[in-house]
């Protein structure tokens, strides 16, 4: 049975086409769906596309920025007002993949992919989803936990508050291969400091669990403390609490547990 390609002008039509057909997959940048088709994934019988311009819109007018699900990483890198997201965007693929891969698709990318989503998780981003029954917003963490059930839904956009200050948000992807390599561990931290105290600490990790997760123990350690070596070391010591990494071709669970604290410490203390 050949693959049917259905292209819609509106996201709502695309969303209902997706939710009404178990064999339908939404085609974003192609890095996931086209690869699956190339490799003979016959569970995909319909490819759904939407031409709605809203999907590729970036709104930076307010302190809360919104990025359409169809926005590519190259487009983010071209947007000066999104400088805080340049490091995560640049860490994905090579130039061609950054010209194709989208923010929305990254939410569905399994390990060792999905690095941009780690940044979104640390930024407490919100995901706007168009289901068969209408649109709704949900926190990215909740979205990830229910990701399997979201495959029938269409992601419209993600949005988040800008980090409190430039150095309040930090991101690093640990890869074996330079400059383009798959994630051994991906780390993102948003540590707003007010009155000399860290408030609302968020630390997110990629490749440390089946999904991107928050390092809650490390967050708790930092919450309310001053941003100094002592608290950094304490956070590093707590980094592996609650993680459940897997053995993979890029590194073992043991190795990831051993080094996650080292890399968190280096990230927070600004070391290479």
């Amino acid at each position: 049975m050949p693959v049917t390609v259905r292209t819609f002008a509106s996201t709502s039509e695309a969303a209902s086409a997706l939710s009404s057909d178990r064999g339908a997959r939404y085609l974003g940048g192609g890095t996931l769906v086209m690869r699956a088709l190339n490799e003979g994934d016959i569970s995909i019988s319909t490819v759904v596309r939407a031409t709605d311009q809203a999907l590729s819109r970036i709104d930076v007018s307010s302190s809360r920025i919104t990025i359409g699900a169809g926005v590519t990483f190259a487009k983010i890198l071209a947007e000066r007002d999104l400088a805080f997201l340049h490091a995560p965007a640049r860490s994905i693929g090579g130039p061609a993949v950054r010209n194709m891969g989208t923010v929305g698709g990254n939410l569905f990318a399994p390990n060792p992919y999905g690095d941009f989503t780690v940044a979104l998780l640390a930024l407490d981003a919100t995901v706007s989803v168009q289901g068969g029954l209408g649109a709704r917003d949900l926190p990215v963490e909740e979205f990830l936990q229910s990701r399997e059930r979201q495959s029938g839904a269409l992601v419209l956009a993600v949005s988040c508050q800008r980090p409190a200050s430039a150095d309040a948000f930090r991101y690093r992807k640990i890869a074996r291969i330079k400059p383009k390599g798959g994630s051994v561990i991906t780390l993102a931290a948003h540590l707003p400091v007010s009155g000399g105290r860290i408030t609302g600490a968020r630390i997110a990790l990629g490749s440390m669990a089946p999904m991107q997760i928050r390092a809650r123990a490390a967050e708790r350690v930092l919450e309310g403390r001053s941003f100094d070596d002592a608290s950094i070391n304490a956070a590093a010591a707590a980094a592996a609490e609650g993680v459940s990494p897997a053995d993979s071709a890029l590194g073992s669970a043991w190795y990831r547990r051993e080094i996650v604290g080292v890399h968190l410490r280096r990230l927070l203390s600004g070391l290479e």
């Binding site: 049975m1 050949p2 693959v3 088709l37 190339n38 490799e39 003979g40 016959i42």
Partner: protein, 525 residues
């Protein structure tokens, strides 16, 4: 950056040549930069069909039943190929040089011996339709215990991987489960030695990862022949292998290739040609069979793993007096070319050094993994890793600079090698000297003056008496003979007795190196 050291061995060369030695542009470079170099897949044929194979999800399983009826009825399917459709469904690559027993089917029939082994091939109008048909093939597997470790595979009671070799090892000279190397008496050497160091080394498998995956296109040609565009790195090897498997005269085929997107040894196995041609024979249409990247990585044969045990005896003054090696080549489920690498490896011992007592036992072991094959440095890469790590440890043990330690033990012209041939045209010492110079690694004058052309031979040319192993029992009559020579098996005879040589002396400083002063003095500009 590359520097030609014409000053070294200049007296052995005629450099008065016109084309040789010039950095002439590659004949194929214009084709490469314009994208017009023609690889096997760049041939456009009318009505091309696509072949995909169903691969085993089990590392070891009996095939109780294979049902292809649904697949045969699937849309776009032109032909489903099963093991019974392959004229000669058992082969081993080196049967072309009369070495080894046929042990590998093109399509598995009774059982599968590694995860990814092909069982059924589907030829369809499009890749998509081939994939859909493959999903409709029903196979009833009875999983069997599998063995993945070479030493486990040698234990009695280990699962038999490949019934052609019931002891899970290739059979050498009809007699042995390994290839021997015997030169002098290592046990005596160990007894004499000031230090004995025994170590274990392991190399995991390595994938060739050529940017072009293995593949071929076969098409009916005029006058009943078949033209085959192929990525093979061994044109007649592949052609003759296909003629054998498809049981037709070799001139049935017109093989075209020669421009290949990287091989490194991974395109010798003729993985795709037999089924592509059979598909063309059975459908009368051009058929393309190209491996996907995951297939290439997991089921295209890799450089096989090796486990190596090295035991050395060394004197305080740095002379190595005995080296004993036991190595296990992980051949995977079938022989392919590992049996050959084992002999090449035995010949390579003990590395580029003159050691009076050398003992080697090299095994080709079968396990339930993707069959291994040749790769750049075949049979030697892992052994060199083991030997050179060992050399570093020995140098550290006796407190000698690692460069000078190698110069001290390096083989020289006239020395006797462990495979009982005289060393000629050696140049290890000069390589160490020049590398040291490049790396600004200080060497003592004595080491700088050493030469491959001096102080070899003499006692170093002698073959010390070699004790014989207990006589082996003959291999089972059922096992056909496997040896390189087409003559009857070599009769076992002890090597001619030779007088015990005095143990080699450490190299005396030599002062006759004036002719080569340029090696250490002037740099070529």
């Amino acid at each position: 950056m590359l520097e030609l050291r014409k000053d070294i061995f200049a007296d052995e060369r005629d450099d008065n040549l016109k084309e040789i030695g010039k950095g002439t542009q590659r004949q194929d470079m214009l084709g490469h930069v314009t994208g017009t170099s023609t690889y096997f897949d760049d041939h456009k044929l009318q009505g091309m069909l696509h072949l995909k194979v169903l691969r085993s999800p089990h590392a070891h399983a009996r095939l109780r039943r294979i049902d292809t009826t649904e697949a045969e009825r699937a849309p776009g399917v032109r032909r489903v190929i099963r093991g019974a459709d392959v004229p000669v469904n058992l082969n081993t690559l080196l049967s072309l040089i009369n070495f080894g027993k046929d042990d590998e089917p093109s399509l598995a029939v009774d059982k599968v011996r590694y995860k990814g082994e092909p069982i059924v091939a589907v030829v369809a109008d499009s890749p998509r339709e081939a994939y859909e048909a493959i999903a409709k093939v029903r196979v009833d597997y009875e999983p069997l215990p599998a063995v993945f470790d070479v030493e486990e595979a040698l234990k009695s009671g280990a699962p038999v991987v490949n019934e052609t070799y019931p002891k899970n090892t290739f059979v050498y000279h009809d007699v042995y489960d390994h290839q021997k190397l015997r030169f002098g008496d290592v046990e005596r050497g160990f007894a004499e030695a000031d230090h004995v160091l025994e170590q274990r080394y392991q190399m995991s498998p390595i994938e060739h990862a050529p940017t072009e995956t293995n593949g071929s296109i076969a098409a009916p040609d005029t006058n009943g022949r078949y033209v085959v565009y192929t990525s093979t790195q061994a044109l007649f090897f592949s052609l003759d292998t296909c003629a054998k498997i498809l049981d037709v005269p070799s001139n049935t085929f017109h093989f075209v290739g020669g421009t290949v997107g990287g091989g490194f040894g991974g395109k010798v196995d003729t993985l795709t040609e037999p089924l592509a041609i059979l598909g063309a024979m059975l459908t009368g249409r051009p058929v393309r069979y190209q491996l996907g990247r995951e297939e290439e990585m997991q089921f295209g044969s890799p450089r096989g793993a090796e486990r190596i045990f090295v035991k050395d005896g060394v004197m305080r003054d740095g002379r190595i007096v005995a080296r004993k090696i036991c190595a296990y080549f992980d051949s995977g489920a079938y022989t392919r070319l590992s049996s050959y690498a084992v002999v090449k490896c035995a010949a390579h011992l003990p590395g580029p050094y003159t050691i009076p007592n050398v003992h080697g036992d090299i095994y080709c072991v079968f396990t339930n993994r993707t069959p291994a094959t040749a790769m750049r440095g075949f049979g030697v890469t892992a052994m060199d890793f083991a030997l050179e790590c060992q050399m570093d440890k020995l140098a550290h043990l006796v407190g000698i600079d690692p460069m000078e330690f190698r110069i001290l033990n390096a083989y020289r012209d006239g020395d006797m090698k462990a495979h009982r041939r005289e060393a000629k045209n050696t140049a290890l010492i000069e390589c160490v000297q020049v590398a040291a110079e490049k790396a600004k690694w200080p060497l003592r004058e004595e080491a700088k003056r050493a030469s491959s052309r001096k102080d070899g031979g003499g006692s170093r040319a002698a073959m010390s008496p070699t004790p014989q192993d207990p006589a082996p029992q003959r291999a089972a009559a059922s096992q056909q003979r496997t040896s390189y020579d087409r003559a009857p098996p070599v009769v076992t005879q002890p090597p001619p007795p030779t007088p015990t040589p005095p143990p080699p002396r450490p190299q005396a400083p030599s002062h006759g190196a004036a002719r080569f002063s340029s090696v250490f003095g002037t740099r070529r500009r």
